[in-house]
């Protein structure tokens, strides 16, 4: 109820701002946090001596707000927020642009949140804004896509880059058991996770016997999380490489869009697209048999763990020292590794057997 109203306010402010300035500026600032106390349960205060949870304010900033994937992660963050009884807010622009995200983060700092939970569009570009926040004592936790290592305290990595690469190659082999030629579509050259995934996938194909039946197209194409662009690239890649078997993308927009392009072109069963995608956006492909497997992890639990970690950093329950254990209750326990990385590492593989088990 309360979030509904907030959302409405945010939406109206987007339109109002856009209308007034008549320019491409629609950063949603979080609505004034003065009128709180909306949510009923004042929560069990677990750490009685530490600061009152209701005074703790955590902002979650996804790459951008228009994407279903981030919305699922947000639900996890909100769940953590209400369990802890803290002030949890979701901020961000509805455009997948680095400049917009920098503006969002810069504008968030003066509202003095205790922690920022961020998925970076461009890890280096947002670093100065995040460092400024850290300089003001704000804890910074990245999830989904990391920022420069010195611009955040912890990075909750959904899958280690190695595991992500293996998971996607496994999905590729489920689709095309005999292996064959693989091409990659990434979001952008500045997305650190996508770049790392592709690099490791290439290395695995070169060296790991498990993937020796695969070969790859060296040039990586970039679709910027845009469905139309992904489809055009998929079709052009199929034309460029008549023996292409699988198109792999770490982008939850590009992978399903590419699969749809393959179906439209009448090439289903000859070429497959796979990679990371929300089960809701690939359910139809898997049920129709056009696709065998897509992969992901549970974004809600990832958002939950990241928010819990941010909270525990704020209260001082944990530090960023390697070996520190983050206890996220039912969501599991996670150990901080070298460089402040925390690996969530629970890949999900969606196939005809389990696709109906997922409701996101």
């Amino acid at each position: 109820m309360r979030t509904q109203r907030q959302r409405k306010l945010a939406g109206v402010s987007v339109i109002a701002i856009a209308g007034m300035i008549l320019a491409a500026c629609s950063t949603t600032a979080p609505t004034a946090p003065g009128d709180d106390s909306g949510s009923s349960s004042s929560a069990e205060s677990s750490g009685g001596d530490s600061p009152n949870p209701a005074d703790i304010k955590i902002f979650m900033a996804p790459k951008f707000t228009g994407l279903a994937y981030f919305e699922v992660a947000r639900a996890g963050g909100e769940k953590a927020g209400s369990e802890l009884g803290i002030d949890f807010q979701y901020i961000g622009s509805d455009k997948p642009e680095t400049t917009e995200q920098i503006a969002t983060l810069t504008n968030a700092v003066p509202q003095s949140p205790d922690a920022l939970v961020v998925s970076a569009i461009d890890g280096d570009a947002v670093a100065p804004a995040l460092k400024e926040a850290m300089g003001k004592g704000i804890k910074v936790v990245t999830y989904d896509a990391d920022a420069a290592a010195d611009a955040r305290d912890l990075f909750i990595n959904q899958l280690s880059y190695e595991l992500a690469a293996k998971t996607m190659l496994d999905a590729a082999l489920l689709n095309s058991p005999d292996g064959g030629l693989v091409a990659f579509i990434s979001a952008s050259p500045t997305a650190p996770n996508h770049t790392a995934h592709v690099k490791i996938m290439k290395e695995l194909i070169d060296t790991d016997p498990a993937y020796s039946s695969l070969s790859y197209v060296d040039t990586v194409q970039f679709a910027g999380d845009d469905a139309t662009k992904s489809q055009q690239l998929a079709l052009d890649l199929i034309q460029a490489h008549p023996d292409l078997k699988v198109i792999i993308s770490s982008s939850a927009v590009s992978a399903p869009a590419a699969e749809q392009a393959i179906i439209n072109a009448g090439k289903a069963g000859q070429v497959w697209a796979t990679g990371f995608a929300l089960p809701s956006s690939v359910r139809d492909f898997i049920k129709s048999g056009d696709s065998v497997a897509f992969a992901l992890w549970d974004p809600a639990e990832l958002g939950y763990v990241a928010t819990i970690a941010a909270y525990q950093l704020v209260t001082g329950e944990i530090t960023t020292d390697p070996g520190t254990v983050i206890d996220a209750g039912d969501a599991g326990q996670y150990t901080v590794l070298e460089g402040g990385e925390v690996q969530y590492n629970k890949p999900l593989m969606f196939t005809a057997d389990n696709i109906d088990d997922f409701d996101f």
Binding site: G11, V217, V253, P256, Q260, D284
Partner: protein
């Protein structure tokens, strides 16, 4: 009608007709040149399978460019085209998800949305006298903001689309995608309307010389607003087609496509100063862009070079336009001097 053609005859096409024809032929030559280069580098380029794929990726852009032409001819721009496409696709397919009984009536809903959004653009540009680049930059943001608000970060997933729209996107007629045929029909229809109907002649007349059109008693407001409405309706219908093609529709569908659309229009020889160029040129411009995209992927070239290449093509096209325009002006001036003497 006669007033409009009179203006055209005196101030526009007739004077520099040759130069304009050369401009159109220039695009064809450029396209053939591109095809020759790509074929030499990658013989596969010239295969039927590849060429039909290029036409398919050009189809959406060609239709959107046809719509944009209606606005550019009046000397204005419509930067909100991507937002109109996205808004229509999301709203309409969200509705069909909850009301499958709508069937093909969804097209009518799309037309209505396009009409309203286009009319708003026209109103801002004419009645409020806001320069079109600023007005439509604003509506680009407002329309997109509306979809973001409406969609609330949800997706219309592929399984929720009406099966007939998905079948249409995958259908093939005579070896070509149904979208290619739809694009051909739409572009020719717009072309015929522009050349054959008084309304079309007025768009040209107004665009080539707004002042003269005014003295001939043409209503600038009506002409510009109808141009925007036409563009809005086409963008909306194209958005619907794009949505069916993409499958999973989020609130960002078609964002940023305005640059591609404008590039197609400009490369295709529709003068950004208004009043000259044809919808066929714009559609051809879309084919040129699709060819560049396809050829560079075939060559295994990185994205950056694609942008560079596309940018160069745009600058070259506008430079040629400037030259042609000067030619036309000189021809017209010579003639009016002749008349005076």
């Amino acid at each position: 009608m006669s007033a409009a053609s009179g203006v055209v005859a005196r101030f526009g096409l007739a004077g520099g007709g040759a130069a304009l024809r050369v401009r159109f032929i220039g695009v064809i030559v450029f396209q053939l040149l591109l095809m020759a280069v790509f074929t030499l580098a990658r013989p596969r380029f010239a295969s039927w399978d590849n060429l039909q794929s290029v036409l398919f990726t050009a189809a959406i852009l060609a239709m959107a460019a046809a719509g944009q032409t209606l606005v550019v001819l009046t000397g204005n721009l419509d930067l909100s085209v991507g937002s109109i496409m996205g808004a229509t696709a999301y709203v309409v397919f969200d509705l069909t998800g909850t009301m499958p009984a709508l069937g093909p009536w969804v097209v009518l809903i799309a037309v209505l949305i396009g009409l309203v959004l286009g009319a708003v653009n026209g109103f801002l540009v004419t009645t409020l006298q806001i320069p079109s680049i600023v007005a439509t930059l604003g509506t680009l943001s407002v329309y997109r903001g509306f979809v973001s608000f409406y969609a609330n970060a949800k997706e219309v997933t592929v399984g929720e689309l009406p099966p007939w729209t998905r079948s249409l996107a995958a259908a093939r007629v005579l070896g070509l995608s149904s979208y290619v045929w739809i694009a051909v029909v739409l572009v020719i229809a717009v072309g015929v309307m522009l050349r054959g109907m008084p309304w079309g002649r007025e768009l040209y007349a107004y665009g080539s010389n707004p002042r003269a059109a005014y003295y001939y008693g043409l209503s600038s407001t009506r002409i510009v607003v109808t141009g925007y409405i036409g563009a809005g309706i086409i963008a909306a219908v194209v958005g619907l087609l794009l949505g069916a093609q993409v499958g999973n529709i989020n609130s960002l569908l078609a964002s940023g496509i305005e640059m591609q659309v404008l590039a197609a229009v400009v490369i295709g020889g529709v003068s950004i100063w208004g009043g000259s160029g044809s919808v066929y040129g714009a559609a051809l411009g879309a084919v040129v862009l699709a060819t560049i995209n396809n050829g560079l992927v075939l060559l295994g070239v990185q994205e950056y070079y694609r942008l560079l290449f596309q940018g160069l093509a745009i600058v070259a096209a506008v430079a040629v336009d400037a030259l042609v325009q000067r030619r036309v002006l000189r021809a017209t001036r010579r003639r009016s001097v002749g008349v005076a003497a």
